[in-house]
């Protein structure tokens, strides 16, 4: 690969990592906001999303510029294409964080329905998967991507579990429905975040192995 192209790709990777770090931060903050019932933190998360959208659009523009001017082929093309689509997945993940914050705003004034056990686990796995997927992309470690994809099953399982648990709360007392529903939606958002990260991993495998892998979409809940 020519040095010119190599430098441009390095630059794009850097920008992608920056975006991923911003999103990671949003995942963390939106959870803390939920746990602490902190409305101010929710607002912060919601407002931060503008920065993330801007960063994402900048990255998209830059990727197009590199494609137009450098005419990449083969692995270079797949890497750049991966960055282009990862950009979209990251931006959607950030949107999910905003949704989590907005939902939190609606129940923040009431005490927690129940101690949060599974949701933090989901959040932790998301963070772990995000870190791993970015690492595997930067280090061309397709094995790590394959392992990370399996973690998505755990998230799917946790989602099903939360659903069954909250169902009982809703059936028990109609006054629980609002809060239970909120937690249910938040769980689904984490589940979607997990799916997006799975996309990142699949793309990494395509970029470096040239093989398209489509894992099954999230397992059915029932």
């Amino acid at each position: 690969m020519s040095e010119i192209l190599e430098n441009k790709i390095l630059n794009l990777k850097e920008k992608l990592v920056n975006l991923a770090l911003l999103v990671r931060d949003q995942i963390d903050k939106s959870f803390i906001a939920l746990k602490e019932r902190d409305k101010n933190l929710c607002k912060e998360v919601i407002e931060k999303d503008d920065l993330i959208d801007e960063t994402s659009m900048e990255l998209e523009k830059e990727v197009l510029q590199v494609i137009a001017t450098q005419d990449p082929k083969a692995e270079s093309l797949r890497i750049i294409s991966a960055i282009l689509f990862d950009n979209i997945d990251l931006e959607r993940m950030a949107d999910h964080c905003v949704d989590i914050a907005e939902i939190t705003m609606t129940i923040a004034d009431e005490p927690h329905l129940k101690p949060l056990i599974d949701l933090p686990r989901m959040k932790d796995i998301c963070i772990k998967m995000l870190d791993a997927s970015i690492k595997s992309f930067l280090e061309k470690d397709t094995e790590l991507s394959k392992i990370t994809i399996e973690d998505d099953d755990i998230i799917d399982d946790l989602n099903s579990q939360i659903f069954r648990e909250l169902l009982t709360y809703m059936l028990e007392d109609p006054r629980n429905i609002k809060r239970a529903n909120a937690l249910l939606q938040i769980s689904q958002h984490y589940e979607r975040i997990g799916d997006h990260i799975t996309n990142l991993c699949e793309r990494t495998i395509y970029a470096f192995e040239g093989k398209l892998i489509k894992t099954n979409p999230h397992k059915p809940r029932y």
Partner: protein, 252 residues
């Protein structure tokens, strides 16, 4: 804000009665690579030959307008001084066949009668050949004649020869069109390195090359400057339809 090193105002160029360049207005930014793109016959070679006052040497050629180098009109300067400040590398590598590699690099000084000490000569030869990436390949054969090198090496020798004069601007007229892909790549990487010390204007019909190396792009068509902007803007969002047609290969 970028520095403007060369300012072209209302440039019109003629061959006898036929007008080859019409009202060109363009600014060239310092230490950047500006590529001049366009189909054959669009006037891009005539344009750069006006910049080093080579155009006027052709019989019946005429130039009107202003070209300011750091504010000074080059048509009011001694043409030889202009050519020392604005160097040129041609499409076909043209090292002087009767001179050694050493003398070829110093040819600018030999031909303008500037006297140098042996130390100065050695230093200039080594610096210029290092800058053009040729030093390691020829340092043991400096006194052999330049024509025994490969095409890509000859072209780098010509670049060294131009650089030896410490020009402010370097005009490259399709410098890689006669070379193989590997030499082409080497020279493209060289250009990116060189722009730190000299401003580069690159005429090319190779759109890919313009995209790869240049910071700014000027699109010429039928003797007119159709569009000018950063390469990234021109390649992703050209404002003129002709520019777009050229980029996608519909014309030219």
């Amino acid at each position: 804000m970028e520095n403007i090193i060369l300012s072209i105002r209302n440039l019109n160029a003629y061959f006898g009665d036929s007008q080859v360049l019409k009202n060109i207005d363009l600014d060239i930014f310092k230490n950047k690579i500006t590529s001049i793109l366009g189909p054959s016959g669009c006037g891009k070679t005539t344009f750069i030959r006006c910049l080093n006052r080579l155009h006027e040497l052709v019989p019946k050629a005429r130039v009107e307008g202003e070209i300011l180098l750091n504010g000074e009109d080059i048509y009011k300067m001694d043409p030889m001084i202009v050519r020392q400040k604005i160097g040129m590398v041609f499409q076909k590598p043209n090292p002087f066949p009767t001179m050694s590699i050493y003398d070829n690099v110093l040819a600018g000084y030999i031909l303008t009668g500037i006297k140098l000490t042996k130390e100065e000569k050695d230093r200039i030869v080594e610096d210029s050949l290092k800058k053009s990436g040729l030093w390691d390949e020829v340092k043991d054969n400096l006194f052999k004649r330049g024509v025994f090198l490969s095409g890509g090496q000859q072209q780098r020798l010509c670049i060294a020869r131009a650089l030896a004069m410490n020009p402010e601007v370097l005009l490259l007229d399709e410098p890689t069109s006669a070379l193989d892909p590997i030499s082409t790549l080497k020279i493209e990487e060289l250009m990116i390195e060189l722009k730190k010390s000299v401003t580069i204007i690159l005429v090319t019909h190779n759109i890919g090359q313009a995209g790869r190396v240049s910071d700014y792009t000027a699109f010429f068509y039928l003797g007119e400057l159709v569009e000018f902007g950063t390469t990234t803007d021109i390649f992703t969002t050209p404002k003129n339809k002709k520019t777009e047609e050229y980029l996608i290969g519909k014309i030219g």
